[in-house]
Subunit: 338 residues, 4 copies
């Protein structure tokens, strides 16, 4: 950690700061500049927060040096992680193509959609049984009935299934039916929920929060990893911005950014990122070209009848066309889609 | 709702759209302009989402008209709500001055801080027993022991207490000890938690999420209100922005903005908003001048020894000085501080 | 335009609003809903601003319908525009690969860089002679000497050249030396400068401002087009965001977003967007996969000696490797790189 | 400056870095930690950009220590600056109350508005003769005719006048008529324009750009100050954000934030910040309570007939009411309004 002192810090304050640095187990290295003193504090940054230093009289700024995550970091785990979800692999050269409707609605739709996406080449089926809706008056999902339906349809078409868990009390139930647990963007910093899925051994799809930095996302992954569950896949799905013509702003640079500092697989969700079917295929292609380990796309056979987020879904025919491009890009970048 | 059609919408598409509008219970009023047709759809917007219209072929844009919240709205509840927290009132001319440390740490600190803030004029004591921390390696709070301590100190000094609840499974426990339940910014859209506190009758302090719009905040309040709990106080605490010199960006305009459309009390938290003690007093004064129903300030007797967020706390002496200004402003704007 | 009236709008106010709508040449179509009245105002939205309606007593909200740009719009100009810069074409299936140093520094560097990028396949040389620098104490560019040098090196290697113009008084000078005029992000809404380059017939590379929406960017293009200069190429280069690990946030979805509503070519600048050479190649590949008409990359033979923005430049060897991928992607998406 | 090296930096790289630090005139102080080395580089940060260090192989991060502005800084100029605009003073306990229409439109309106604001207590008249408009089809201002009218009306009512200058070529003309030159938000980083007004001795009202940090704003002030013009007043007017119900997000914390590090006066413009007359009075009061040296409010006698930004203007009666509160707050905070 680096402590930048105020230009007017007194010798007594500096003495007190040096004492405090030693007291918490760091070794201080003061450097006296023309205008101000800085102090290098060498020790284990992950055990102490910068906060205790920031509050010391005479300290202007505290600059942390070490990355605050460990298990998610590539420094200790050089090779790409591969996460297995049923028969599907994500990461380390394996592309996860996750598709399906926003919400599980009924058997007829699920069956048709699953059949179509399987044929087009998707290797994971998604569908929400518990839906986080901004309004309490919107459709909230079918609950356990939806989970059973999703499981049945996944088995019928040979597709592992992923679905969202919104509350600590639902983890056991969802764990029973799903092959992968999704933590939604709004729950990325629901730390009790992260701890709870960290106690399972199910693969977790962790979506980036709408105002989360890349570092925040990796810290949330660290919560799950430190619980003992190493099967974490990260998902970039856009952040809040001032641009009003898309639902969120897809931060595609986060893909190489994360992969440079973490071994965890990263996939991209252009459906929630843009909210616009006319932009989804281009962003899905861009995701693979940027090095993503997979793509998450909403597909619905009848968007205007969908009970949740219909307009951001691709039609099965559009998904077919997209998968042709995705396969070409996978070949070009030596990725397997199994 | 207003449907704006694409310039190239075909007569068949328009026919299909008009049918769909009627089918979901709305009355359509088409207006044919030079370049495109728009359709006014009159009916109850709160029951249908714009999504089903957006997905119709030929529709370019759907513009909702009615506000999507009802119970939180001033349209149906003209007068300011007053929320009673123990002996303290917030809203309708009553200022809530909430102060205390970030986390409940030990009896000695709590007792000293509570004594000082009470004497300075605060009327609610805060302190976290369950702490949402970005890192799994940071101090996570004292749990039930912290709740008991907070209760004891609050009673000793005659201050009602508010503390955060982070998980649905904690609601019953926290409800037993606290006079007011705080929903933190990271949980503003943890809808299961909102529903759960909506089932209690305890006052709820609902903090704005870091990427939440004013409308999002009011929709989250609606979750609690629609559960039957009408004791909701909103809290502006800053949002994420590109400005790097403050922790968040305090959106003080949200105070008159919310008060114009909702009857719920709104308070301001300049501690989390700025993260800088040198800015907190100015922002607390500004909050009262902007019409806020209260202020939420972290106070600690020894910030450098605090286990959580020490540097953003005011010292008791600084809080004393602030309260002198707050009282003057309260007088000037005819607010009571009881 | 749609006027949404307040729930408490009086009959007299409504009468006054209807009169005003007619007075400014629109035809009003009132629709009376259960809670409030809305008025469709049919006419030419591009001639009247919503402002005059917004100020009318009784009006709550004004929703514009028509897009406020015309010449930039695909509605009136269906086919993709192709902009010719010297012998290079951008748009309509032609990829513009713009490369070079941030600033023109000296003959030796320029010659080496130009030789290398030409060999790798770039078809436009960039380099700044007038530099917009945040600090008045930073290197401000070589001025006319830099322009002459850029011109000479471009001619030697058979590469048309693009360089920034920062001030209306520089337009004539820069126009004399350059094949394409660049308007930087900080000047995207320097309207006098836009008008001035609109008076030339030189191709203009218009960069998106750091807080500009896609619509703002198209409106700025409209300034140039309405001056009579139809040779405009747009450039996505990232916007300001809360993410601190990259210089800006690259909004790659703006590429298909713009191309859906405008005929103008769009290129992407991953150098300024990310500020990190480790992310630039991935974002350049993603740009082409997203449908961009070109890429703008900084290349420097000796970044640590560069006088401006050295660290965001690729080394010539890195650019060689990138161009191999770009060629493959160009083939895959049927783009020509001439 | 602090250089944080990569964990895998080689001894040869470290040697090269130390050499480079010395070569550019800094003294290096290496500190070897368990995982990585950091190097304190002591010297004059304002002369060298972090860029040249960032590009060195083995460097992960460069952390600047000294503030990059000097003349704007309180470190070298402890006392508050007072800027005199005609007979009006801003800063150092003097409140500048700037009011008037968005654009100068005609004699009748200007005269009525000026009379009313003067009577209410404003001490500076504003009005635009050159208008930066997003659309080329919107009213662009009356030009010199507007300047003459503004001057005449200001003189008649004994009010100094401030008006915007948008282009280097207009500086001389505007300087001839106005008492204070306004640099608009869109031109905050139009560096040629900043240099040009830095050559005059007229007071400059420098508005914060929509995506500018506080540091960026102070750097732009430094451009003017370093030209020899020390009469700079800063203006907070909101930044771009995701909140859609206000035009911009007013960052009121910037007021104490700037005043802590700079001696320059800071005023607040709630009209452009919110775009909503129902929020302007609350934000104007909050500004004074936050310590601002003045407020900038649009006032129009007939907003629905205004040719530019009508709906964000207060009516004269609303301004009267606001001024009563402002006077009380000025008294309370010991500010003079002359």
């Amino acid at each position: 950690m680096i402590l930048v002192l105020r230009p007017d810090a007194t010798p007594a304050q500096i003495e007190h700061i040096l004492d405090h640095v030693k007291e918490v187990g760091f070794t201080p290295f003061p450097i006296k500049g023309e205008f101000r003193t800085i102090i290098g504090a060498v020790g284990d940054d992950t055990q102490t927060t910068p906060d205790s230093f920031q509050a010391l009289p005479g300290v202007e700024q505290v600059l942390p040096i070490l990355k605050p995550f460990k298990l998610a970091s590539r420094e200790l785990h050089k090779a790409d992680s591969v996460v297995e979800v049923g028969t599907t692999k994500i990461g380390g050269g394996h592309l996860g193509m996750i598709a399906g409707p926003c919400a599980v609605e009924n058997e007829e739709y699920m069956d048709e959609i699953a059949g179509r996406i399987k044929k087009a080449g998707a290797n994971l089926l998604r569908g929400g049984a518990f839906k986080p809706r901004t309004s309490p008056y919107s459709f909230q999902g079918l609950g356990e009935e939806g989970l059973m339906l999703l499981r049945r349809i996944g088995d019928k078409h040979g597709l592992p299934v992923v679905t969202e868990v919104m509350d600590t009390r639902q983890v056991e139930l969802v764990d029973r039916y799903a092959d992968m647990l999704q933590i939604g963007a709004r729950n990325m910093q629901n730390f009790e929920l992260l701890k709870e899925v960290g106690q399972t051994r199910k693969p977790v799809l962790l979506k980036r929060g709408m105002s989360a930095t890349v570092k925040d996302l990796l810290m949330s992954a660290e919560y799950i990893l430190s619980g003992g569950n190493s099967n974490v896949v990260l998902c970039e799905r856009g952040v809040r911005s001032f641009e009003e013509s898309t639902r969120n702003m897809l931060d595609l640079a986060s893909v190489p950014n994360i992969k440079g500092q973490s071994h965890l697989p990263v996939i991209v969700d252009p459906s929630h990122a843009t909210g616009r079917p006319d932009l989804i295929p281009a962003m899905a292609r861009a995701a693979v070209a940027a090095g993503a380990d997979g793509v998450h796309v909403e597909v619905h056979c009848c968007p205007e009848k969908a009970m949740s987020d219909g307009p951001q879904a691709l039609l099965p025919d559009q998904f077919d066309a997209l998968m042709i491009d995705i396969r070409k890009l996978a070949d070009m970048f030596h990725k397997t889609l199994a």
